[in-house]
């Protein structure tokens, strides 16, 4: 069967449609016709030598990428065409139509031999990259100097870009996003790339150009901590606004009942108290531009009772209602920015209240550059205490130099240099992928810096603001584009000394929205056992958790209760009144109840020592 040279199978979208004598020649023929425009340019074909199969793909959902066609060692994009393109006589689509540029999908790319630049073309070359940078996607092309960074930093920096605060939409004032952040003074990065400019991301910037010195500061920026300049913050650096929208709907229920937005009358069930509703206007929705804090009602809403009441002899009594208002969550505060009232598709009223809070950078907020270098603010220093150059330039941010070598983000340093040149020369710098050669770039920047009267490597003599002394080492200082990330302590900070407990277990609640505590778990318990700190352990597990006084029958050992009418403890099991008050954890009482549900009766024997 194998001895005979078999014909190549031709697949169209995964189905065999024909056989070809020579698969390679067939694929070439299809390509030729595609370039001539005889068949659609959206078709891709590949020949798989191992399987002796030709795969033609014409289905949707294939990612495709444009290449310049090379035939016979000659790029089809001739200088003449380039000239015509530049004079706008022809356009890009002309090149695609004429088969000068064609799109390849992942499968056809396997057949292609692509040259990165025109001088690399040889006889085997089939395609030429339009630009070296086009080997990367749009996301990667928006970053600067990506080729100088360690590969593992790219996904990290991409993640940070997603979390950065900026001007995500021009109409943010008319939007009611559940959560949004708007930076006060976002800037276009001084160092940006071709794709960044082409996509006009600069109209939605998400960061600021900060003067960064690679310096320690009395041990305050160890590991990934950064030190910020209070002067810069006071002038608006990193400042942003966070928006949160609370919304509610007037739902309809069976029996022509529905919710109502109004200030709930004190007769409603689970009424929160007069002061909670004090910020509501007559329509039951909070007034704009009022300061609201935790526990304030934003949307007053009353709902019909859960169960219908029975008819009395006086007819249906006055309808009782239930309070179902929306309140500001624990630990939140802000100003009511705007209120939106509208209708849903099912013709019910909907109310949205947008709360705005100013977020000034503080200790614990997170910042990141575009090279996957994140940092948490550890200290905000008054400008007079910050290090300064002889010109009096005070860095906005101090980054620990040890962040760089182990992570191999050379792009960060190049950006510092480029940003410095750009900010002095008042021009945008280019950091497009693969457009530069490292050493030449440093020389170029160095020459420019020397021209401006700076050190060619970007080093500065810094003077310690605290002592006034000159710092012995020269410190690399430049301008880097920093993003303020959406993880801010203000949204996470939480403390508890006393607070709510769970209904079932009588143990403290967990989580920020429930004003909960941090779990003192099994391993934490073991540490106290290991130390022999028996009373501390008891305090954690009992006194500050679910301590309960329980009446235990001296006769039968079951748990009884205290009868406040007869003023004596009572045992339900044996009917006696000889019970002892015992201090146990409520969790144990629950356990005993569960054991009882197993049809096993646990008895407690009390030994009055």
């Amino acid at each position: 069967m194998l001895a005979k040279e078999s014909k190549a199978k031709v697949y169209l979208d995964g189905r065999v449609i024909a056989e070809a004598k020579s698969g390679r020649a067939f694929a070439e023929e299809v390509r030729k016709n595609r370039r001539l425009g005889l068949i659609s340019g959206e078709i891709n074909v590949s020949y798989l030598k191992k399987l002796n199969e030709v795969h033609i793909n014409a289905d949707r959902g294939r990612a495709r990428k444009p290449y310049i066609v090379v035939e016979g060692g000659q790029s089809k994009f001739t200088p003449e065409l380039e000239q015509r393109l530049q004079s706008k006589e022809i356009d890009y689509n002309y090149l695609v139509r004429r088969g000068i540029i064609e799109y390849l999908d992942a499968e056809e790319e396997e057949d292609a031999f692509v040259a990165l630049s025109s001088d690399q073309i040889n006889q085997k070359t089939t395609h030429l990259e339009i630009d070296r940078a086009s080997m990367l996607g749009l996301t990667m092309n928006c970053s600067v100097f990506p080729e100088y960074n360690s590969i593992g930093r790219h996904p990290i920096s991409s993640n940070f870009a997603k979390q950065s605060q900026g001007l995500y939409a021009i109409n943010f004032n008319k939007r009611y996003d559940p959560r949004a952040f708007i930076m006060y003074y976002p800037q276009v990065p001084i160092v940006n790339s071709m794709a960044y400019r082409a996509l006009k991301i600069g109209s939605h910037p998400s960061g600021q150009n900060l003067v960064v010195a690679l310096s320690t500061y009395y041990g305050y920026n160890m590991k990934d901590a950064v030190v910020l300049n209070r002067g810069a913050i006071d002038r608006g650096m990193g400042r942003s606004m966070s928006y949160k929208t609370y919304s509610d709907e007037e739902r309809r229920y069976p029996g022509s009942q529905q919710d109502r937005f109004k200030v709930p009358p004190p007769t409603t069930e689970s009424y929160l108290g007069e002061h909670a509703y004090s910020k509501l206007s007559e329509d039951g929705i909070v007034e704009t531009e009022t300061q609201v804090t935790e526990g304030d009602v934003l949307i007053g809403k009353v709902s019909p009772p859960r169960f219908l009441e029975e008819e009395t002899s006086f007819g249906v009594g006055e309808e009782k209602s239930r309070d179902n208002s929306v309140t500001l969550k624990a630990g939140e505060e802000g100003i009511v920015d705007n209120v939106l009232l509208c209708e849903t598709t099912s013709a019910t009223k909907i109310a949205k209240v947008r709360i705005r809070t100013e977020r000034i950078p503080e200790i614990g907020d997170k910042f990141a550059s575009r090279h996957g270098q994140k940092g948490v603010v550890a200290l905000i220093v008054d400008p007079n205490d910050m290090p300064r150059t002889k010109e009096g330039i005070v860095p906005d941010l101090l980054l620990n130099p040890l962040s760089l070598p182990s992570r191999m983000t050379f792009g960060h340093m190049l950006e510092m240099l480029g940003g410095k040149v750009g900010s002095i020369g008042a021009k945008q710098m280019d950091g497009t992928a693969f457009s530069t050669e490292g050493r030449a770039l440093v020389d170029e920047y160095g020459a420019l810096l020397e021209n401006y009267g700076f050190d060619k490597f970007g080093d500065e003599d810094l003077y310690d603001g605290r002592t006034g002394e000159k710092i012995k080492a020269k410190i690399f200082t430049g301008v880097v584009y920093y993003n303020r990330l959406m993880h801010m302590v203000g949204l996470r900070l939480q403390v508890r000394s006393r607070g709510p407990v769970q209904i079932l277990t009588h143990q403290p609640t967990e989580g920020k929205p429930r004003r909960g505590g941090l779990r003192f778990g099994e391993m934490e318990r073991d540490t106290l056992v290991g130390h022999g700190a028996s009373l501390l352990l008891k305090e954690r597990m009992l006194d500050q958790s679910d301590k309960a006084d329980v009446w235990v029958c001296r006769n039968c050992g079951d748990i009884g209760y205290y009868d406040y009418i007869k003023n004596q403890p009572t045992c339900q099991t044996c009917g006696q009144n000889e019970l002892e008050k015992v201090e146990i954890s409520y969790g144990f009482k629950l356990l005993l109840d569960e054991v009882k549900s197993l049809h096993v009766l646990p008895r407690i024997k009390i030994n009055m020592g």
């Binding site: 056992v529 022999g532 028996s534 008891k538 597990m541 009992l542 301590k547 146990i584 096993v600």
Partner: protein, 344 residues
């Protein structure tokens, strides 16, 4: 000074030694997990290393994955390589299938002809006659020895299937050596004495070989040691194996923690695992057992047998909310009745 050192090592009454041991072994074990794969050194005998080995020992597995022995040779011949080789030959378990070049079988007539491989025979210094004699001890077959072949005839023909089973058994039967010992290697100490390491452990059979130091066979299988040398030796085996496994990973755990675990495992005279089938599953307290694993099973059994929990352990007291009897909770203040009168 020696006295001061000794006293510093004595635990205070009420010290939570069990918890300390668990934490001191548990913490390095998490690091072991992170770097599980690496082989160190050249070793002809394969051993289980790292966390899997620790788990194997603590769980008291009846069949460890890679059992092995270190066999010492009697002093007078321990430096004589030829004599040690002789002992080695008696150790490694060689099956008939390892000595032949092939075989023909006729299942219908119940005759199998085994073609012996002379090269392999000479390497093990064995002749066809001894093989035939060895096989002759079996009761279900008769053997005849040819020049190079051994003809095996089955005595009772009970059908093709059982005939085949017998033939397979014959091919797999040990000719020389001790069953269970797959490989043995002669190794030399720095001072020139030879010793043998084996993969596969069978102390009982190895003891029968002359020239072996019978009281100094080391096995890494605690159950083997327990059977042949007793429980104290088994305890030491567990402790030694644990500490050497941990040391191999470049971690250090004080011997006292490991010794405590080994003590607890062998306390009753047999080896018990540290888990739910062993120590933890046999605790006196119902609540402590239920708090660990299989909660419902323990409560129902406690109900059926009317068990009483004295509430004396740590887990029970934390559960009900009492001060634990460990550490500072161990001390109780007592006042005599007469003294109370004096106070008044």
């Amino acid at each position: 000074m020696a006295k001061g050192k000794k006293e510093s090592l004595i635990m205070t009454s009420g010290e939570a030694v069990g918890t300390l041991a668990a934490q001191s072994i548990g913490e390095p074990s998490t690091q072991m997990m992170l770097r599980a794969f690496h082989s160190a050194g050249i070793s002809s005998v394969i051993t289980t290393r790292g966390l899997p080995r620790v788990i194997e020992l603590i769980d008291a597995r009846k069949r460890p994955r890679n059992p092995g022995m270190i066999i010492r040779i009697e002093k007078k011949i321990s430096k004589d390589y030829e004599k040690v080789r002789e002992i080695w030959r008696k150790l490694e378990d060689v099956k008939l299938s390892a000595l032949m070049s092939g075989y023909d079988e006729n299942l219908r007539s119940g005759v199998m002809t085994v073609h012996l491989d002379p090269e392999r025979l000479s390497s093990y210094e064995i002749t066809g006659r001894t093989i035939a004699a060895k096989l002759g001890k079996r009761e279900d077959i008769t053997t005849e020895q040819d020049e190079k072949d051994i003809v095996v005839k089955i005595k009772k023909k009970e059908g093709v299937k059982s005939t085949r089973t017998v033939f397979v058994n014959v091919l797999n039967s040990s000719i020389i050596g001790i069953p269970g010992i797959n490989k043995a290697v002669v190794q030399q100490d720095e001072d020139g004495t030879f010793y043998i390491t084996t993969s596969g452990s069978n102390i009982g059979e190895a003891m029968k070989i002359d020239g072996i130091e019978k009281e100094d066979i080391y096995s890494n299988d605690p159950f083997e040691v327990l059977k042949n040398y007793g429980v104290e030796a088994a305890r030491n085996t567990i402790a030694n194996e644990l500490i050497s496994t941990i040391k191999e990973e470049g971690l250090t755990v004080s011997y006292r923690h490991i010794g405590l675990v080994a003590d607890a495992m062998t306390l009753t005279g047999e080896i018990k695992s540290a888990g739910r089938h062993g120590i933890a599953g046999e605790k006196a307290s119902v609540l402590a057992r239920a708090a660990y694993e299989e909660t419902v099973k323990h409560f129902i059994n406690a109900g059926v047998f009317g068990e009483t929990d004295r509430l004396s352990g740590v887990a029970e007291n934390i559960l009900i909310g009492k001060q634990i009897g460990v550490g500072t909770g161990r001390i109780r203040l007592g006042v005599r009745k007469e003294d109370i009168k004096k106070l008044k």
